[in-house]
């Protein structure tokens, strides 16, 4: 960045307005997350805390898929790490903007980083945007919207008492399948994804009721992709 990063109220509200379609789009995912949380026997307090503090639907669903009582702290933490480690790479990309915030605000903003707000912010930054208020304005309403959607989902689940294979639960899987679409960068992704899926299936078969298959599959896919790139050049 050649010029200083700013934070303006006008851009904050612009970001907040732009977040509304994101809130609408993410609400079903939040709803399903709340539903699944209730289905796995967690309490309303657990649900609200998890969604407020973890605030990472994909990671939460992965951890919930293998949830036990008492809570599987290590397995859940590991699931959270595997799925959310991408945030570790996303944060640094926004470094030029984040530098324009005080350390407290910077890490608070990072704490609610999600894929969509990151993507919009990066795009604006690449076009020469210098106002970090866009990122903050996008992020805050989305966090509130998610918390409300997941709480509503939880409450509906306890009223509805859905059978285990109800179609609504497919919503969780649908969220992941849907997110694969924008992640597809072209035919070069085919090999790593197939390797990831294949290794994942193998490990899931060998080590049932654990989450190792995700790490194993993900790492294998990454290695396959990187290896192919260095061979092809």
């Amino acid at each position: 960045m050649t010029s200083a990063v700013t934070f303006t109220k006008a851009t904050f509200w612009r970001g907040a307005r732009r977040s509304l379609p994101l809130v609408a789009g993410l609400a079903p995912f939040g709803f399903v997350t709340g539903l699944i949380t209730q289905h796995h026997g967690l309490s309303l307090a657990d649900c609200m805390l998890m969604n407020a503090l973890v605030y990472a639907g994909a990671g939460q669903l992965v951890a919930l898929a293998n949830w036990t009582h008492p809570a599987p702290v290590l397995a859940a933490a590991f699931a959270a790490f595997v799925v959310n480690v991408r945030f570790a790479l996303m944060g640094p990309v926004l470094a030029p903007w984040l530098a324009g915030l005080s350390p407290v605000k910077r890490y608070a903003s990072l704490a609610i980083l999600v894929d969509h707000t990151w993507a919009i912010s990066v795009t604006d930054m690449r076009k020469g945007g210098r106002d970090v208020a866009l990122f903050v304005g996008l992020s805050v309403p989305l966090w509130f919207g998610w918390l409300i959607a997941s709480t509503v989902g939880f409450l509906c689940a306890s009223k509805l008492d859905l059978p285990p294979h109800h179609p609504l639960f497919f919503g969780a899987l649908a969220a992941f399948v849907a997110l694969l679409v924008p992640l597809w960068r072209g035919r070069s992704d085919a090999l790593p994804w197939v390797v990831a899926g294949g290794v994942s299936l193998l490990i899931a078969h060998l080590l049932p009721h654990t989450s190792w298959y995700i790490v194993a599959g993900a790492l294998s896919g990454c290695l396959a992709g990187a290896a192919k790139e260095s061979w092809v050049g």
Binding site: F29, A80, R86, A111, A175, V181, W184, G217, A218, C222
Partner: protein, 87 residues
Amino acid sequence: MALVTLACRCGGYFVFSRFTPSAAVRRAMAHMPGCIFAAYVMPALIAGPASNWAGAAATIAAMALSRNLGVSIGAGVATVWAVSLVG
């Protein structure tokens, strides 16, 4: 879970502000998002009923066309529901 996720969000920024990953690491990590999701999805699809495949196909089509997560989830769930009513 909260601490780990927080560590991921903030820690990554913190670490990368001090170290630069090698080109090889960056190449591998670039594949991480798609690979994580592929690794999560495959066992679930294989273990689930056939209606899930129809739902997945509908979800992908809806996402490719609308680029809207809510619409795509809705399309997938509706398809699974429809198949379960018919089949």
